[in-house]
């Protein structure tokens, strides 16, 4: 009933559709990112995205046209940083807070304070018709690239040394993953906000790994968890007038807690049986 009510508003059904696609793409990418220990890249990129949004609003440019190239370039930069010996995590942290500072400064010069909240925590109203089209295109590109290169992404994640030795171009799949992550963050950021988007990458795979033990199952459960959390959060946000991004992340968190607990119980039962 509440669904039909939501669907009667064109802007809400648009947001629902875009969020659905982003949830699936981000959860699949997240599985590989988390297993490669690249979670920080997602987090760093969302901060860079915020900085780019601030600049775009200051210069009155279309947000997507500014954030897209900036975040994609940063994705490759962050990938190189994280491949450094020692992880380069301090460099990533510096880049994140610098981008955040630039974004805040740009927004305050622009003097439109309402934007700040939307940039940081997302806004459903920001999903325009052209945004929806671009999001659709980006999500389809991400999904199809992921599906076509699924086995290669898996192999280069599981054992890069073996993959390289048998002639797989690991570097190519690292770059692909960074590029797809950047795209998903850019389109997802406007609705969920730059502070919250990285949880969309990380929560689904962590939740799935609590209950699944094969790569395929982890991928499927992560995608299902992501869609479920999105729908639950979206409906809760409509029903209880909560900010959408925050209620989606809270839904992820609750599912994570439930799956962690049930994963523990399942393992306890297994150890009692065997």
């Amino acid at each position: 009933m509440i669904i039909t009510e939501i669907l009667s508003y064109p802007f809400l059904s648009r947001a629902l559709f875009v969020g659905f696609l982003i949830s699936i793409s981000s959860s699949l990418l997240g599985v590989s990112l988390v297993l490669r220990r690249y979670s920080m890249i997602g987090d760093g990129l969302s901060h860079v995205g915020f900085g780019a949004l601030g600049i775009a609003s200051l210069l009155s440019l279309s947000p997507l046209y500014v954030t897209l190239p900036v975040v994609v370039v940063s994705a490759f930069l962050l990938l190189r940083l994280s491949q450094r010996k020692g992880g380069g995590d301090s460099a990533i942290a510096l880049l994140s807070s610098s981008a955040l500072a630039i974004g805040v400064a740009a927004v305050s010069i622009g003097g439109v304070n309402t934007d700040l909240n939307a940039f940081l925590f997302g806004s459903i109203l920001s999903v325009s018709r052209s945004d929806a089209l671009i999001s659709l295109a980006v999500s389809l590109v991400t999904l199809s690239a992921y599906l076509v290169f699924y086995h290669q992404i898996y192999a280069t994640t599981f054992d890069p040394a073996f993959a390289k030795a048998t002639g797989l171009r690991c570097e190519r799949y690292n770059n692909l993953l960074a590029l797809l992550t950047a795209l998903v963050i850019v389109v997802g950021m406007r609705m969920l906000g730059s502070m919250l988007i990285s949880s969309l990458l990380i929560f689904p795979s962590l939740s799935a790994m609590k209950v699944a033990r094969t790569y395929f199952r982890v991928s499927v459960i992560a995608a299902a968890e992501s869609v479920a959390a999105f729908l639950a959060g979206f409906i809760a946000s409509y029903a209880l007038s909560l900010p959408t991004g925050a209620s989606i992340v809270i839904a992820h968190m609750l599912i994570f807690i439930i799956l962690s607990a049930s994963g523990l119980i399942i393992r306890r039962i297994h150890s009692v049986i065997s």
Binding site: V148, H151, F162, A165, T166, R213
Partner: protein, 237 residues
Amino acid sequence: MNLIIGNDITIGYEGEPVVSHLTFSVESGDYICIVGENGSGKSTFVKSVLGLIPPLSGKIVFSGGLRQDSIGYLPQRSAIQQDFPSSVTEIVLSGCLNRHHRLFGYSREEKARCRTMLERLGIAGLSSLSFQELSGGQQQRVLLARAMMATERLLLLDEPATGLDPQATAELYSMIDSLNGSGITVMMVTHDIHPALNAAGKILHFSHDGYFFGPKDEYFKSEKGMTFMKEAGHDHH
């Protein structure tokens, strides 16, 4: 028939030679043990053979239809994340990605080959289990099956017995012996003298003052061989 030939090559990192003027050859059916103290060039050699680092001078030549990207490589088990969610089948199938050309999924032939490999290594019953649930010896067999999906001609094993208990070690070595007996060429880096004593035909020994490459019998008569034996607690009679 030669599979790999290195003629007077120098290998190392970033212009720093680790092993100089190395001449070796791998013939089809060989069982070569690669031994030597830490830092003497064993892993540099492995990486050079795999093409991960180019030789500083000279060239490693592949022949007899063997290609660099079709070496069945068994990396050190410690290089693999132990908590990685992955089924045995997923891991073994990924071994044939070097010759994989389909857009989606694996072909029926590839899946059949995977089943054959699992049976051959005695792990068919584990196919749907997760890698993290297996014992060290079982994990090693899974990685061996994956290496054989990449090629059935030459296996390059990097310290396969590390971290295994004595029984699993013995089982693994006898598995490798029987693979070699069925015609698969084996190159194995090892700390352990026993496979060198028993199964190997040739020894490649790296030390800081040079290397030895030759048949096992000659090796155990050489100075390097005798020192190695003494250090391992075997008196040479």
